[in-house]
């Protein structure tokens, strides 16, 4: 294990797991090019590493067919360059990133060419949490971990359950999920992830200044955050995905037995097999329950 027990960790020693969206379908439509994006991220990663000698950064690529680790600052191969840290970081990360993207694309070619727009955020989030658990296991002295999602692709509604599972697991182990969304729409997943885990969600207005956003909002350690005025959430999108069509809905029907969400009325629950009686119209339940509540 990389962390020697003799090291004294204080509040401001950080592990940042950066999830990098590499989805080519998004980047080909974005006005901000992928190479510009990577330039900003590299400087940011380097800034984190130089802020404290003990800081650690792990980068996971979120592709559209796969996810993989592309950089880990604690690995010996990444540390050997000593003072020439920046070039080593660049060379390593960029090489792995390129390998990853080539492989990711090949995987896509084998599949029938469907219109894929989302990236596999649930996969990279799950991997990041596994990595962080390993840091927790490494002893009582470990850096304080957090996750930073740099996401541009729209949400993939079919990942809804998996992403929610990951969010709750992060919440239980008190790992904040920060998110920086650079796509055109809003990401309900990332808004919820940051809100539930106590992280920061931000959607930069001017992508040219991405590095400044990254450094000022996501660069500070968790302890220092208490003293900063960080962006407050401009509302949280709590919409869910229905289980039948995987579309995002703000109103729907819920099976009273298993809590599955459906966008329209069904006769039978496809998840648990319960047969539903008559359509319990909302008015009936409303009047039923109203009678009991007015004196509250």
């Amino acid at each position: 294990m990389a962390s020697a027990p003799s090291k004294l960790y204080s509040d401001d020693v950080t592990l940042v797991v950066v999830l990098l969206d590499t989805n080519p379908f998004f980047w080909s439509t974005s006005s901000f090019s992928f190479s510009q994006f990577i330039t900003h991220v590299l400087v940011f990663v380097n800034a984190i590493l130089t802020m404290n000698q003990l800081n650690q950064v792990v980068v996971i690529a979120t592709g559209y067919n796969s996810c993989d680790y592309i950089y880990d600052s604690s690995l010996a191969s990444n540390q050997s360059f000593g003072n020439g840290r920046m070039p080593a970081l660049c060379a390593n990360l960029l090489q792995n990133l390129e390998d990853f993207m080539v492989k990711d694309e090949q995987l896509g070619k084998e599949e029938s060419e469907g219109r894929i727009t989302c990236s596999l955020l649930s996969g990279s989030l799950s991997m990041a949490l596994c990595y962080i658990q390993r840091i927790f296991r490494s002893g009582s002295l470990h850096p304080r971990p957090r996750i930073l999602c740099l996401q541009g692709s729209p949400d993939g509604p079919e990942q809804y359950v998996a992403i929610m599972n990951a969010i709750f697991s992060a919440q239980r182990s008190m790992v904040p999920i920060d998110s920086c969304y650079i796509g055109a729409q809003n990401s309900a997943f990332l808004q919820q992830a940051s809100y539930i885990t106590g992280g920061v969600h931000h959607k930069p207005q001017q992508l040219d200044g991405l590095f400044q956003y990254l450094l000022t909002i996501f660069g500070t350690d968790l302890h220092s955050r208490n003293f900063l005025q960080l962006p407050k959430p401009v509302g949280v999108d709590f919409r869910a995905s229905c289980f039948c069509h995987k579309s995002t809905i703000d109103m729907g029907y819920i099976c009273s037995v298993c809590l599955s969400i459906f966008c329209k009325h069904h006769k039978k629950c496809s998840t648990c097999g319960s047969i539903f009686g008559q359509a319990q119209s909302d008015d009936a339940s409303a009047t039923n329950r109203k009678r009991k509540t007015p004196d509250l």
């Binding site: 559209y64 067919n65 796969s66 996810c67 880990d72 995987l107 894929i116 596999l120 649930s122 996969g123 799950s126 991997m127 596994c130 990595y131 658990q133 390993r134 990942q159 809804y160 359950v161 998996a162 599972n165 709750f168 697991s169 182990s173 809100y195 407050k232 959430p233 401009v234 509302g235 949280v236 709590f238 919409r239 869910a240 289980f243 039948c244 995987k246 703000d250 729907g252 819920i254 099976c255 009273s256 037995v257 298993c258 809590l259 969400i261 459906f262 629950c269 496809s270 648990c272 319960s274 539903f276 319990q280 909302d282 339940s285 409303a286 009047t287 039923n288 329950r289 109203k290 509250l296």
Partner: protein, 422 residues
């Protein structure tokens, strides 16, 4: 049912003994007596004392749990009654001041119930809990049925006082009246934490028990002193469970057994589709008039998706259009019950030899090397679906907390939800 006095006398005598003992032992002795450090030791084959190896035990326990769970999953998709309406009845009669639990029964019960409530809402997102106390032979409603743990936990940490006798019948009557108002798809349950060894009732308790049975209220009792016939009878009649706690850790275990949803008995509740809305949380710092308090409020609030009215808290029902409003993450907390991930298969050591050649010589989840696992040689597991290798620690974490296979999630077309499509 008048034996409570005798018991109390005994209890007092014991307390005095305890006090004397405390005086006699030295401070250093006392620290050992409280630590019970000898309980963390076990004897090996040759009679030597060794610390209990926690990791091996926990991994074995985990394997057992996993096997049990996959067994139930394969037999059928068991229906679980996930919308539960539970009243927790806490006996605050004289008997609750006894100090066989430290510092007192009352304090221990309050602490454990607080922990239980949090766990309960974690596992039963749409359910509601209310608190009832029994004091001076009368039952009081401490908190109303509600869907968020905070108010209940706060009520429990407030000042609780014990006095007088306990009355099972009064408590059941009160709860019965309250639970009769809930919607038909809800499961009605009562969990009674009973300290006393007697009950002081105004009428025939058997009638009350039959009334509860008729209303399909599942009553469970956890006793803190000794077994009582009437409690056992109540649980048997209504389909609940009865147990008596030996000490605090046992009590904790017994209470937490009530957290996972009990298997729904078809007749107990009617399956239904309930129309619900998932409101958006308003921007922090925005000002609007909420429909529940009819006051202008800054910040926190949710907007009904149908009529756009503002409400302060979730879950609730829209005052304007009557739509049930829930926070969708609240629902999603239970979805891992519905889409469990398959147990991982152990990889035989012979397969591990070609790990060197495989591109994957590290755990797919945490990147830990699988080649030199130290004192547990050659143990790793593989996901039956995506065939990725994982270390044992990740195996536990994935099945116990994450509920996602990182390997399957980082492959397109193998999302667990997608496979469950009709």
């Amino acid at each position: 049912m008048k034996n409570s006095d005798g018991r109390r006398l005994n209890g007092e005598a014991e307390e005095e003994d305890d006090d004397e003992e405390d005086m006699n032992i030295e401070a250093w002795e006392r620290s050992y007596a409280e630590d019970r450090s000898w309980e963390a030791l076990q004897e090996d084959e040759s009679g030597r004392l060794r610390p209990i190896d926690e990791s091996i035990i926990s991994h074995a326990q985990y394997r057992r749990r996993l096997r049990a769970r996959s067994l139930t999953a394969t037999t059928a998709r068991i229906q679980k009654g996930l919308i539960r309406y539970l009243y927790i009845v806490i006996d605050l009669s004289r008997a609750a001041t006894e100090m066989d639990f430290r510092p007192s029964r009352m304090a221990v019960v309050a602490r454990q119930v607080g922990a239980f409530i949090r766990e309960f809402f974690d596992q039963n997102p749409l359910s509601q809990v209310g608190l009832v106390t029994i004091k001076d032979g009368i039952a009081h409603c401490l908190t109303d049925l509600g869907g968020s743990p905070e108010s209940h936990v706060k009520a429990l940490t407030g000042k609780l006082e014990c006095s007088g006798d306990s009355s099972l019948q009064n408590a059941l009557d009160l709860v019965h009246g309250l639970l009769n108002q809930i919607p038909s798809y809800g499961h009605r349950e009562v969990l009674i934490l009973y300290s006393a060894l007697s009950t002081c009732d105004p009428g025939d308790i058997m009638e009350t028990i039959q009334k509860c049975k008729k209303s399909k209220i599942r009553c469970s009792v956890i006793g803190l002193s000794a077994e009582m016939f009437i409690c056992k009878h109540l649980c048997q009649e209504t389909g609940g469970s009865y147990s008596v706690a030996l000490d605090e850790s046992h009590l904790k275990e017994l209470i937490l057994e009530h957290a996972p949803p009990p298997p729904a008995i078809a007749e107990f509740a009617i399956a239904n589709l309930i129309k619900m809305g998932f409101p958006q949380r308003a921007a922090e710092g925005s000002i609007s008039i909420c429909s529940c308090h009819k006051e202008a409020k800054v910040g926190v609030g949710y907007t009904c998706p149908r009529c756009k009215a503002r409400v302060c808290d979730l879950p609730t029902e829209c005052r304007i259009c009557g739509l049930q409003l829930v926070s969708s993450p609240h629902l999603a907390r239970s979805y891992h019950h519905l889409f469990p991930i398959a147990p991982f298969d152990e990889v035989p050591p012979s397969h591990l030899k070609d790990l060197h050649n495989r591109s994957q010589s590290t755990c797919f989840g945490c990147q830990q090397s699988l080649l030199s696992p130290g004192n547990k040689p050659g143990l790793c597991v593989a996901c039956p679906k995506c065939k990725k290798y994982f270390c044992l620690d990740c195996d536990i974490y994935i099945h116990e907390s994450l509920h996602n296979c990182p390997g399957c999630e980082s492959l397109r077309h193998s999302n667990p939800v997608a496979t469950n499509e009709e």
